[in-house]
């Protein structure tokens, strides 16, 4: 965890980031912790390993051969998936990417700005606003989704890309994290100094505060990205045209249809396998920059 992002991230927990020095490993290993962790890893990797292997099986192999023996149908499965409804699967994947990238970018921007404003300015109703925000973090998504759906219907926006993108731009959790981060990363003196020099508030935010907040905002972006990519309920409610489905919803409908026709099982499994790849890849790349002590710091503020 001694990545750049972590070291830069301020934390109310004190001196985090730099892992404390340990005695070098000399031959001896602790068997109990190592074994426990290995068991945990096996448990967590099992379904992933299963889907990797199952996606290589043809329909008949899936039901006849032992689960963890690779099959011979991988390329056929991909071709089947590609042929299914003229390659709608790729459309779903592109949709997921669009929702996640655009949604996460916009919502990180909004979060950074509101978090900064909440942390820096004293204005009437600030505490109320913050408490409402906290309540928003706890609010079951469906409470918002029903009226959001009805409002979207009034604006004639249901079943459009907008209906999934817009509600996710304001993320109470993102604003909450940003406020904590802004309070820790942007010293009040610096903002004061900027004012003394005659910089406008907007200029202070974009030129001084924002660069200081970048490491924390990377975390917020990643959280939003994963949250939107994995979101199911909102598109489930908003969309009916499967051309606009994200992957989660697409796979779900595929499973629903496939429940009675085992021939579709291989499609679902191959689809699930491909759906896992982008996020796992992203995950492996960014896990070094994942500044999670921002999260654990959040509890103490």
């Amino acid at each position: 965890m001694s990545s750049l992002a972590v070291r830069k991230a301020p934390s109310t927990a004190g001196a985090t980031g730099t892992a404390r020095s340990r005695p070098p490993l000399r031959g001896r290993i602790a068997p109990v912790p190592t074994l426990t962790l290995l068991l945990g890893a096996v448990y967590c990797l099992l379904p992933v390993a299963w889907v990797v292997i199952a996606s290589t099986k043809s329909g008949s192999e899936l039901f006849s051969t032992f689960t963890f023996l690779p099959g011979s149908g991988f390329t056929d499965n991909i071709a089947d998936l590609d042929a299914y409804r003229d390659g709608i699967y790729w459309q779903w994947m592109a949709n997921s990417g669009l929702y996640a990238v655009l949604g996460a970018l916009l919502s990180t921007g909004v979060s950074a700005f509101s978090g900064y404003a909440l942390a820096t300015y004293r204005f009437r109703g600030r505490e109320t606003m913050f408490n409402v925000l906290l309540a928003g973090v706890l609010m079951p998504p469906i409470i918002l989704a029903i009226p959001q759906y009805l409002l979207m219907a009034k604006a004639d926006l249901t079943d459009s890309y907008w209906s999934v993108l817009l509600p996710q731009i304001l993320s109470p959790y993102g604003v909450y994290l940003s406020r904590i981060y802004a309070a820790a990363a942007v010293p009040g003196d610096v903002v004061e100094a900027g004012r003394m020099d005659g910089a406008s508030e907007w200029r202070i935010f974009t030129r001084i505060a924002l660069p200081m907040m970048i490491p924390g905002m990377v975390t917020v972006f990643l959280f939003q990205f994963v949250a939107i990519w994995n979101n199911f309920l909102l598109p489930y409610i908003m969309l009916s045209d499967d051309e606009r489905f994200p992957l989660t919803l697409g796979l779900f409908t595929l499973l629903e249809q496939g429940a009675n026709t085992p021939a579709l099982y291989t499609l679902v499994i191959t689809g699930a396998f491909l759906a896992v790849i982008p996020l796992v890849a992203l995950f492996l790349v960014i896990q070094r920059f994942w500044s999670l002590d921002l999260l654990s710091g959040a509890v103490k503020s």
Partner: protein
Amino acid sequence: MFALFFALPIGYAVWLSFRKVHVSGLGLGSGARSEVWAGFANYTAAFTDSELLDGALRVLGYGCIVVPVMLGLALLFALMLDSEKVRLAPFTRLAIFLPYAIPGVVAALLWGFLYLPDVSPFYYVLDRLGMPQPDLLDGGPLYLALSNIAVWGGTGFNMIVIYTSLQAIPAEVYEAAKLDGATPTQIALRIKIPMVAPSLVLTFFFSIIATLQVFNEPTTLKPLTNSVSTTWSPLMKVYRDAFGTGDIYQAAAEAVIIAFATLVLSFGFLRAANRRNKRDLGPGGAR
């Protein structure tokens, strides 16, 4: 922005919950259906509805399995990662955290297949050993099956949160403890766990919220089994009422009740946790 996507929907939901459709005459013609004030009728209907109560009880049972198991495992793994002379820590840490990146729907789908007798490796092994094969997708085992999905998806995330705060404990504390002759187990129980208590409170809190809002996993398993009804969890019932049977007013009332219950539970919990921390650590202690 805030008002448009947040305050307005909540206000609208509360308003809807007090309304209902009044059908006059035979319900034909454009003027026959009109929205009228319903008072608390939707709320009384919701409170006397056994489906909602059953759903709440199911989620309670589910939560009683998920939260302790998930946090227990997360704490265990975090302590193991933090212990000395452990091998393969980076690999196992990543492996255990990996399920966090997998969408809940896909996770439920994967486990769903692993539960299906036709394709599951567990059943294959049990079959070869000549052992009885339980139906994981029915009755009591269904709770275990659903809980397992949540535990699988959530342990890694909580582990990282706890592990990060374990790393923040200064090394001097351990040196002092070692000089006093404490064993690793004693250090873990007496020093590490109390010092990461704030993180445990946080993870506990988030786990409860997530549990109350369970929707994706049972919905995804539904096509695979008949035992998951459309009203298995309260949120599923809200969805069914709003979009299945089309009674958005009833659904709004139920949604408001669930939101209210969630808020009362969470703020109550936060206050209780605060009071405890203040007592333990004195004023100015971790909040």
